[in-house]
């Protein structure tokens, strides 16, 4: 393994597991997800897809302990995630939330340094390892030259890469990303997705919520299709994505083509039902 990839994962031999068991999530008046069970395949990229309001972001928030379950449990390495100390979870699981916001004036390097917090303490504030992983995260996210720029002065794509770099610097085996490419143009989307593939290639387990089904098919190994708070299909994209599934999820008719480059399904000729 290269130096860089050994920096990216802190324990490459460490098998990580994340699962939802009979999970119900919601607010006092509204239930969003009921009795959902899911096992995240380790070392792979899992994409959660589905129409607006199907509960995919809520599920990701539940899996990352942002949203406390009303029933059931999220199990991280065999233990209830909501009973583990938050810092310990932060050393196993890094998160890119949708509404990520930083204090004004923060530079890219400062943001990424915050990713080291779960590994630091009052008497262990900075180590050579910290410095190395911050440099590696900058390099992987292609931000080395922009390290001292304030976040708000950067383009949407660069900023998104900076947030992902912070999650990388957390050096966790698990990465949970909520719509990592939302509001990005095509070129920036590809950059972010390829970065995610690189992370999977060095052994990280990635779970992401993705809006665009074709991108999910192309960049994910495992697809979780949700509708109205339930999982309606789960498996490899080329195996489970059919015109019938697309119709069930989005209420549209379509034809499926095969991407000549990657061999994954592409949704085309979309028309509204009836």
């Amino acid at each position: 393994m290269s130096l860089l990839s050994s920096l990216l994962t802190n324990r490459p031999d460490h098998e990580v597991s994340l699962a939802a068991q009979s999970l119900s999530l919601g607010y006092p008046a509204v239930s969003i997800i009921e009795n959902l069970s899911l096992h995240i395949p380790p070392g792979k990229v899992t994409a959660i897809v589905g129409p607006n309001g199907c509960g995919k972001s809520t599920l990701l928030a539940g899996l990352s302990r942002l949203h406390k379950p009303s029933q059931g449990t999220v199990v991280l390495n065999g233990k209830d995630i909501n009973r583990l100390p938050s810092r310990q979870v932060a050393r196993e699981l890094a998160l890119l939330p949708q509404e990520a916001s930083a204090p004004e004036g923060l530079t890219v390097a400062e943001l990424i340094q915050f990713g080291r917090q779960p590994h630091q303490g009052i008497l262990r504030q900075w180590s050579e390892g910290d410095q190395a992983i911050v440099e590696a995260a900058l390099a992987v996210a292609d931000l080395t030259g922009l390290a001292d720029r304030p976040l708000e002065s950067m383009s949407g794509g660069q900023r998104q890469r900076a947030w992902i770099a912070m999650a990388i610097a957390q050096q966790t085996p698990l990465l949970l990303l909520d719509e990592p490419t939302s509001a990005l143009d095509l070129g920036h989307q590809i950059e972010v997705f390829e970065l995610i593939r690189q992370l999977a290639a060095v052994g990280k387990t990635v779970v992401m919520v993705v809006h665009d089904l074709s991108s999910a098919c192309r960049y994910a190994d495992h697809l979780v299709a949700m509708q109205a708070g339930r999982i309606v299909a789960e498996g490899a994209p080329s195996r489970i994505v059919t015109p019938a599934l697309v119709e069930q999820l989005y209420g549209v008719k379509c034809i499926l083509l095969e991407d000549p480059h990657s061999g994954t399904p592409i949704i085309a000729g979309v028309t509204r039902l009836g």
Partner: protein, 359 residues
Amino acid sequence: MTALPTLPTRPVVSEAPAGYAWWRFGRYSILVHRRAWSSGFLLIAAMIIVSGISLASGAAGLSPWTALAAAIGQGEPMHVFLVQELRLQRLIAGLLTGAALGVAGCLLQTLARNRLATPGIIGIDDGATAFAVASIVAIPTTLAPSALALTGAATAAGLAFGLSGGAGARGYRFIVVGIAVGALFGALTNLMLARTDMDSANQAYPWTVGSLNARPAQAVWLLGIGLLAGLPVAKYLGRALTLMRFSDSVATGLGVPLKRMRVMTLLLTVFLTALAVAVVGPVGLIALAAPEVARYLVGHQGVPVFNAALAGATLMSLADWVGRTLMAPIEIPVGVIMAVIGGPYLLWILLRPSARRAP
């Protein structure tokens, strides 16, 4: 798929993040923000100068150096007596209350992500004052003002937090509810003063404006002990609070137990504010100004707990000195001086272009 970029085979690792000094002892390491330290030394120097001037001025004039020397027992016995027995206690009370209010303001501003959210503005000072005044005019009691101020501060903070939606409450809503709670307690104080006899009202007056003239010695001791215990806790919370300046989901993702940190921060704020108010009364503007001065000097993304304490101590003793000398021998209470300086200052904070920057 593009290949992973390559790093130099030996990464450059002997560097601390920009702007920091880095000390290592085996597995242990400490990062020191250079500008935070230089600001700290600057504030300590300012505090010593203000202390010297404050100790030197009074009915019998001394030079600041003579006064500082006398404070540590050097020089003519007469000067030593004058400074140590008469002036030093007042100075210490000013430094301690300023430091406590500075830290409390810094903590609460960061917690609420709003620089207006200081203990004075959200009603903690008023709660503490109302209870302290009650101990003098309404309820004949032998309880120390500190204990009652603490009860009052906790009541006000509990009401403000409870009514604005619990420990998750942030910013604007918390402030609006806090202002209402403060107004209620302020009215209560005035009602008690209006219904009591002249003597009790006179005795309670310093409490309502904020003055270092009528400081109970016992309350000063309690404040000193409280500050000694509270400062390390505040420094510890500062690390989590730095992360809490991000959105909640980011802070949680980085391993901050948000609920516990918020409750601890609020408790410490109430504790420090109440102990200070029990000594000096409501000089709330210190809590607004001191963290602002600290942040301006440090110019950094952290939460400047110690520097806010130093700035608060300096500002409080400076305001007290101005109040004592401006119209001597008539003494203007420190609370009035701070309001005269603080009012325009508050306007400046609200009106300057970068006012939207959250603390």
